[in-house]
């Protein structure tokens, strides 16, 4: 009896010790700190989950107005890097444009805006653009006009209210962003204009609209359409109108394609958040079957929501999008693959280098990405890491179809980061061009690309069947003969017996 109780006590104590110890060790899997000192961790999205990656961009320094000798910025709303790598900062609170060179040292300050009839001032301008001839385009929002200045601050042209019947009578023109493409057309984003961007020609005449967002077709909209059939005219006028969401910002690349970003995170189906529009206004950005950064965009957290505020296309054709809600910059390529994510809003209330209080604009220079912060009144410079250089080198070759040359760069990327699915696909494509189908299949499986895997498998299957054709045919023939023999066994037996009897 005593022995049994002893045993029970031993068992119980063993179990308790096990439970206590396991509860200590259960939570101690350490998050692998791969951030190289930056206040954010690098990550990317694979087919089923989020994976850690090395950081692609690290914060290098922050330049404020006093750092470059121009006096403190005050609520700067936008900036632009022109083709000579000069940075034009639109210092909205101080009504001036501060020009810095590529090292972010002061070049000049344009604070006097002169016109033919005397001096002029800006009033809360929110957009700036510099074209290839050096003309400065400013979206002077509260003054309701787009100014085109020479390099000395003299007003060259003014674009005003587009007088058109398609806009309501009491429409006030408030341009927020402006760009000019090489085709000579100026595109203006104005507040409360939902039909797209306004197009102006060289002389400032309004030509038309460009590329609006479609209205998202949701169940409530469908219900509204059904119900409105039963209402008379007066009641129908009182229904709220479903209008498309305005663009938040736009940018143009050297080929003349317009890139727009919209904050569509409030709709149930966020699509078209990044668009690449051709001159006809048609969206060429590939529709991705799963949104790589989907969980962040669709997540409706009431305190932190995604808010796309600016888009920039760099010289290599990669797209940087600034999300001011989370303080992150997403770098995509034009095939909608997410390359890097960097920056953060949290962390010491924006005091730490690499964090933001209110980011408003993003621009890129060679190997660097600049983010303008309107509350911190400075520009944060992010520099490419070695990992990012490897990835960009491999991506450029892969994107141009040079799969063979991209093989080694992709292997370099994989050496640095095993989780990069794109790298596996890149290597798989190179192997497939080479004719190594079985290896290519393996890599496509790692890269989770079912289409390419299917193609490689087709080739591999043909190859195997061709190599072993004779063996397969012999086996099939033998099986057929065996089946025939077994089925007609009795009949054959009697035939043989009859044959023997005759003989």
């Amino acid at each position: 009896m005593g022995g049994m109780d002893d045993m029970k006590l031993k068992c119980l104590s063993c179990i308790m010790v096990f439970v206590i110890v396991s509860s200590f060790t259960a939570n101690t899997y350490a998050h692998n700190l791969n951030n190289d000192g930056a206040p954010y961790n690098g990550y990317n999205y694979n087919e089923f989950r989020i994976v850690a990656t090395p950081n692609g961009y690290l914060p290098d320094r922050a330049i404020s107005g006093t750092d470059c000798g121009a006096g403190q910025f005050k609520n700067p709303q936008d900036f632009f890097v022109d083709k000579n790598d000069d940075v034009y900062v639109l210092d909205s609170g101080n009504n001036r444009v501060v020009v810095l060179d590529s090292e972010l040292k002061l070049k000049k300050i344009i604070d006097k805006i002169t016109s033919n009839s005397g001096d002029d001032t800006l009033n809360n301008p929110t957009g700036i653009f510099v074209d290839n001839e050096g003309l400065i385009y400013i979206a002077d929002k509260e003054n309701g006009r787009v100014l085109i200045l020479n390099q000395d601050g003299h007003i060259s042209k003014v674009f005003g209210n587009p007088k058109t019947d398609t806009l309501p009578q009491n429409f006030t023109f408030k341009p927020k962003k402006v760009i000019k493409s090489i085709s000579g057309i100026t595109y203006v984003l104005a507040e409360n204009v939902v039909n797209g961007a306004l197009e102006y020609d060289e002389d400032g005449n309004f030509i038309g609209y460009f590329g609006s967002n479609p209205v998202e077709f949701t169940l409530t909209l469908f219900w509204k359409i059904v119900v409105s059939k039963f209402l008379n005219k007066k009641q129908r006028m009182q229904l709220t109108r479903n209008v498309p969401i305005e663009y938040a910002s736009l940018d143009v690349d050297e080929k003349g394609f317009i890139f727009t970003c919209t904050d569509a995170s409030r709709t149930p189906f966020p699509t078209g958040q990044i668009k690449r529009l051709n001159p006809l206004g048609k969206n060429l950005m590939k529709n991705i079957s799963y949104d790589p950064a989907g969980p962040e965009f669709i997540n409706s957290n009431t305190t932190i929501t995604t808010n796309f505020i600016d888009i920039d296309v760099d010289k290599d054709g990669f797209i940087n999008i600034l999300d001011s809600g989370r303080g992150k910059v997403y770098k995509y390529d034009q095939e909608s693959s997410l390359l890097f994510v960097f920056g953060t809003n949290s962390g010491a209330g924006g005091a730490q280098l690499g964090t933001f209080k209110m980011p408003v604009a993003v621009e890129s220079m060679d190997g660097k990405v600049l983010v303008l912060d309107a509350k911190k009144n400075n520009i944060t410079v992010f520099v490419e890491t070695a990992f990012a250089q490897k990835v960009i080198k491999a991506m450029k070759l892969y994107r141009d179809g040079l799969n063979e040359e991209a093989l080694e760069p992709w292997r370099e990327v994989l050496k640095a980061n095993n989780n990069y699915e794109l790298a596996y696909t890149g290597i798989g494509k190179a192997l497939m061009n080479d004719g190594q189908f079985k290896e290519a299949m393996k890599y496509f499986k790692l890269g989770q690309r079912k289409n390419y895997y299917s193609d490689a498998y087709k080739e591999y299957r043909t190859q195997v069947l061709r190599d072993h054709f004779s063996t397969i045919m012999y086996v099939i023939l033998t099986i057929i003969i065996l089946i025939y023999l077994i089925k007609n066994f009795k009949k054959l037996q009697s035939i043989i017996k009859a044959f023997r009897r005759e003989v």
């Binding site: 087919e47 089923f48 079912k450 895997y453 299917s454 498998y457 087709k458 299957r461």
Partner: protein, 215 residues
């Protein structure tokens, strides 16, 4: 309309009877009802085979068509989706059909519906195997094969309910709809009771922590 089958089924083994039902549903089920040829043991085996088929389908379909995350295989969820759902459907069917003057016993409904699952299993297993050896463009053929399996199973299910309760076709469809409704009711009540249970446990836990902090 009652009719007695005139075929002599005395010598047929249970397995051959199963395949006979697949080819002649109404006659086979009539045999089951009047001559008690159904076997509970075989129906349990079929249900387990269905469960295993679902697991194999989850993990074994080829990479080209498999959309499931292999890390998310949870056999308890699959068990819930197959056997528990089956049991709830049968119970709900029995409840409603008793109210609608059906003549089926619970065991008979169980056995006939389990026998109806056989075509699905027979078609899905080879299809799952073949998905490992196809190219994307050939997947449509496998979809057709699987659809045949599912369709056959549905026909057998309808025939089962019709014969077991001796309904005409209209009443069969009505009872199927009511069975669906019954499943929803069961689901609703189980979720309600689960959340109430959770509330109760939280209540007990709060009282316990209050007491321990006070003394």
């Amino acid at each position: 309309m009652q009719r007695y089958s005139s075929l002599n089924m005395g010598s047929m083994s249970e397995l051959r009877y199963l395949f006979y039902i697949m080819r002649h549903p109404v006659e086979g089920y009539e045999e089951l009802k009047w001559n008690k040829k159904g076997s509970l043991k075989l129906s349990i085996i079929i249900l387990l085979a269905w469960f295993v088929t679902e697991i194999v389908k989850f993990r074994g379909t080829g990479f080209i068509v498999n959309t499931q995350n292999p890390e998310k295989l949870n056999i308890f969820i699959i068990f819930l989706n197959t056997i528990i759902v089956f049991a709830v459907c049968i119970i709900s069917n029995w409840c409603f059909c008793t109210l609608m003057d059906g003549e089926g016993r619970f065991v008979d409904i169980w056995i006939t519906c389990a026998y109806a699952l056989v075509p699905y299993i027979i078609f899905t297993l080879p299809v799952t195997l073949l998905t490992n050896f196809i190219v994307k463009q050939e997947y449509i053929f496998l979809i057709c094969m699987e659809a045949v399996g599912i369709g056959w199973t549905c026909i057998l299910m309808v025939a089962a309910i019709k014969v077991i309760h001796q309904y005409n076709l209209k009443k069969t469809m009505g009872s199927i709809i009511l069975t669906g409704l019954g499943v929803c009711i069961v689901l609703f009540i189980s979720i309600l009771s689960l959340s109430m249970f959770q509330n109760l446990l939280m209540f007990i836990e709060t009282i316990y922590s209050e007491i321990t902090f006070r003394f």
